[in-house]
């Protein structure tokens, strides 16, 4: 029992307090609470947030599933031939390229292929052109037919015929026209395969979705 438990002589109520009558809430206040009860609103918000998160996850995971990259090597070969012939001159405005090839590779041309949603970057090594096709998304390894892994490469790289496919970050680079002796030097100059935020988010979303069974919904 603390000191407050000691009953003290009571002098009786303060009669003036009886003047404190009922307090009217603002007009419509109670009705607004009834019409929009706080818990119902909170639950609705929580459900909406949950659905949004699940939706985003499903969307992202679905995006991952739907946009895994299978390089169209034959198509890229045709583009390389079409866009690297003729008189190519190094272009200064082509410096915003994804690849940072060795100094003796000069950016020459940048194009866009609607069919494969690929960016084509053409470089010149002397008079020898090399095309780098850049596609956004993770590499679909199961779709690599006849691919051989390039051992000792600083990143995941595959050889498909005369072409080289590299999984770099969340992009897939397909190089056409590259000489064998240049492969190591070029791979050493490509963006390091550090998993970026977007890639991590996609991977986490894909993992979560798989665990929650969303994979079957796709």
């Amino acid at each position: 029992m603390n000191s407050h438990d000691t009953a003290e002589p009571d002098e009786g109520p303060i009669v003036e307090l009886s003047a404190l009558g009922p307090v009217q809430p603002p007009p419509g206040f109670i009705h607004s609470v009834v019409d929009r009860p706080p818990q119902r609103a909170a639950v609705a918000i929580a459900v909406a947030c949950g659905l949004t998160v699940v939706g985003i996850m499903a969307f992202v995971a679905g995006g991952v599933a739907d946009h895994r990259i299978v390089p169209s090597v034959d198509h890229f070969n045709a583009l390389h031939v079409a866009h690297s012939t003729g008189a190519l001159e190094p272009q200064l405005d082509a410096k915003d390229t994804v690849a940072d090839l060795p100094d003796d590779f000069e950016p020459a041309r940048v194009g866009w292929d609607e069919e494969t949603v690929a960016r084509q970057e053409v470089y010149l090594r002397g008079s020898e052109p090399i095309s780098v096709f850049v596609q956004r998304g993770p590499l679909d390894r199961d779709g690599l037919v006849g691919a051989e892994p390039i051992e000792g490469a600083p990143m995941e790289a595959w050889r498909i015929g005369d072409e080289v496919v590299v999984a770099s970050d969340d992009r897939v680079l397909t190089m056409v026209g590259i000489h064998d002796e240049d492969i190591d030097a070029v791979l050493a100059q490509l963006p390091a395969p550090i998993e970026g935020f977007e890639a991590r988010l996609r991977r986490l979303a894909a993992d979560l979705s798989a665990q929650l069974g969303f994979a079957e919904l796709r």
């Binding site: 407050h4 009217q24 009834v34």
Partner: protein, 167 residues
């Protein structure tokens, strides 16, 4: 007040919303806080209605309202956004011109202002006893403290109010 059946949440809100609001206003002293408090109380009522046993519904609502109010006071004390008023342990700072002040202001408003100068626990006990008319035993149950503590809080609260009114 005795009820034989458990009302729905909508019935509680419609039939007792004004009662809850009155207590909330007397405890908090302003309409903004009273509205927040009433909403939170109704939220707790909604959660707890399944566990309510028919009986003294106003007592049950008073208990929830008082506890919600005191929880908020404690939370605010832990995380003060604004300086809290100092509660005098000895007396309310009644102004020298209390009569003049009472004459200039509405009596209920003045009393309400004096109530706000009481410590929250004293204020709650006095409001439940002298404004809403609950018994010591009911208040003890509502505030979850011994009856002696209720008597002590009410006595001290009243004493301070009397000193302020007499000043």
């Amino acid at each position: 007040m005795t009820d034989e059946t458990v009302p729905t949440w909508e019935e509680v809100a419609n039939d007792y919303g004004r009662f809850i609001y009155t207590l909330a206003y007397r405890l908090s002293g302003n309409h903004h806080d009273a509205q927040d408090l009433t909403q939170e109380v109704l939220l707790r009522v909604r959660r707890g209605l399944d566990g309510y046993r028919p009986g003294n519904l106003e007592g049950w609502l008073s208990r929830i309202t008082t506890n919600t109010f005191l929880d908020r006071v404690r939370y605010t004390k832990r995380r003060p956004a604004d300086p809290l008023p100092e509660y005098s342990e000895t007396t309310i700072a009644g102004s020298a011109g209390a009569d003049t002040e009472m004459a200039q202001h509405d009596l209920p408003d003045y009393l309400q202002q004096l109530l706000l100068e009481l410590q929250p626990e004293y204020r709650a006990a006095v409001v439940l006893k002298d404004v809403l008319g609950f018994s010591y035993e009911e208040i003890a149950e509502q505030m979850d403290v011994p009856v002696g503590t209720v008597r002590s809080r009410i006595h001290r609260g009243r004493s301070r109010l009397r000193k302020a009114l007499a000043a």
